[in-house]
């Protein structure tokens, strides 16, 4: 068996170190090594975006990246969205605007939304659609996901001015 390698990755601010095989995918590191199962595996073929997490602030598909590549990096997952049990405005938006049905795509969708709103706090509808083009949803028809992200954009702007 080829040698393992020690990796150390910050996930939602907590440092997780482990000895891993190089072929371990980041999504398995997150779900199995760190025990954070909010990040989903949908297609496992780089197409659906259910496994989207932020690596150093940018959305990536964690099924298409080895854990060893993220060594020393910072990962944000859906579990890191809430603050002290308070829903993040993005979560609130998905809740109030019915941005989900089965919820399978939702964690990845919310991470893409978060990256978008950090870079562009007031996206128009087209920009929102473009930002989530890599996240497939089989249930909602996207309309309410757009509304959820628009809700979050507004709410976050209020949060800043308040």
């Amino acid at each position: 068996m080829p040698s393992t390698r020690r990796v150390s990755i910050q996930i939602n601010g907590e440092k997780i170190s482990a000895e891993v095989e190089p072929r371990l995918l980041l999504v398995h590191f997150i779900r199995e090594t760190a025990g954070l199962t909010g990040t989903h595996i949908g297609c496992d073929t780089s197409s659906c975006g259910a496994c989207t997490v932020l690596l150093d602030g940018r959305p990536v598909k964690s099924c298409t990246l080895f854990a060893v590549q993220a060594d020393g990096g910072e990962i944000s997952t859906v579990e890191g969205l809430n603050r002290n049990g308070q829903m993040h405005p993005i979560q609130e938006g998905f809740h109030l605007e019915h941005g989900l049905q089965c919820g399978f795509c939702t964690p990845g969708m919310m991470m893409s939304a978060r990256a978008l709103l950090e870079r562009n706090p007031h996206p128009d509808e087209q920009e929102i659609r473009w930002a989530i083009a890599g996240n497939l949803c089989r249930c909602t028809g996207y309309q309410n996901i757009i509304k959820a992200i628009q809700y979050a954009s507004k709410k976050m702007a209020e949060g800043v001015s308040a």
């Binding site: 068996m1 080829p2 040698s3 390698r5 095989e21 190089p22 072929r23 995918l25 496992d44 073929t45 780089s46 975006g49 989207t52 690596l55 940018r58 959305p59 990536v60 598909k61 298409t64 990246l65 080895f66 060893v68 590549q69 893409s112 990256a115 473009w130 930002a131 083009a133 890599g134």
Partner: protein, 289 residues
């Protein structure tokens, strides 16, 4: 899906990476964005014994103007091209191209160097680089060598890079002030590979004649195609509706599509003709500005 086991190496410099490539030979593969390689490894279509991860090598990620060239570092991500003001203002054709590749998540990792080095006729940058007459800088144990893009794509998934070479830079000549280009692609859905794509770059002289025209075709043959017949039909003449129609017709004759899930060959041939026509008009618009 779990790829086969491999040894993982992470060089901290270009020299170290080249030494590792020389040592491991055919057994090794370079890992850059991983957005083509990792899916292939998961399907076990590719089972390298050793991966050399070049992502931590410094100074390979840049977009700059120098010595009459636009220079793009081998590790530059698609996202960087998409958001670069220099690219948007001076090379809108490159912005067009990055913008229609995959999706945000893939573009955050995928590199321009990997897009070319993969040698996939379905990738979008090859046609654009053929239209732009780019040069590839390959760095190996003997140092750097320049490969003109027209000699780069040898066969399907095969390029002129040697196993111990790394694609370190792409150089695009910036001659002529009245330049314009465009990349147009038809895809089944956002983020899909092209059913067909056409890249066009024209340079006009003072009289408005075409000084040079470059035309590249995506996913209509075993390799990316440089439509030299269509280019020749435009060179040295004024751009006219008739000239554009003739070049578009020739480009469609140079395409060698096969029928597949994305459509019948006849449809793809017709797409090449129409996309060449539209790309030429858009390139012309941009060159006149």
């Amino acid at each position: 899906m779990i790829p086969a086991s491999f040894e993982y190496l992470r060089p901290g410099s270009l020299n170290e990476a080249i030494a590792m490539l020389s040592e491991h030979g055919d057994e090794a593969k370079i890992l850059s964005g991983g957005q083509s390689l990792i899916p292939m490894m998961k399907f076990r279509l590719s089972r390298p014994a050793c991966l050399i991860d070049i992502n931590r090598i410094p100074n390979l990620d840049y977009i700059k103007e120098e010595d009459g060239y636009l220079k793009i570092g081998g590790l530059t991500r698609e996202t960087a091209l998409e958001h670069s003001d220099l690219i948007r203002s001076r090379f809108p054709i490159l912005h067009d191209t990055s913008f229609v590749i995959a999706d945000v998540q893939v573009r955050n990792l995928a590199t321009v160097g990997g897009n070319l080095a993969h040698g996939d006729p379905a990738n979008d940058h090859p046609a654009t680089m053929l239209a732009l007459d780019a040069e590839i800088v390959a760095t190996g144990p003997q140092g750097e060598r320049i490969i003109p893009i027209k000699d780069f794509f040898v066969a399907i998934f095969t390029t002129a890079l040697r196993p111990e070479e790394i694609l370190t830079e792409i150089r695009i000549p910036m001659n002529g002030s009245r330049r314009g280009g465009a990349y147009l692609k038809v895809e089944r859905k956002v983020g899909d590979y092209a059913t067909a794509g056409v890249a066009v770059q024209v340079t006009l002289n003072d009289r408005g004649d075409v000084q040079r025209a470059g035309i590249g075709l995506t996913n209509v043959g075993p390799t990316p195609i440089k439509a030299t017949g269509a280019e020749g039909a435009l060179a040295g003449k004024q751009l006219t509706d008739e000239g554009i129609a003739e070049a578009a017709r020739r480009a469609s004759e140079e395409a060698q599509p096969s029928s597949d899930l994305r459509g019948p060959a006849e449809y793809k041939t017709a797409l090449v003709q129409e996309l060449t026509r539209r790309a030429l008009y858009r390139a012309w618009e941009r060159a006149k500005k």
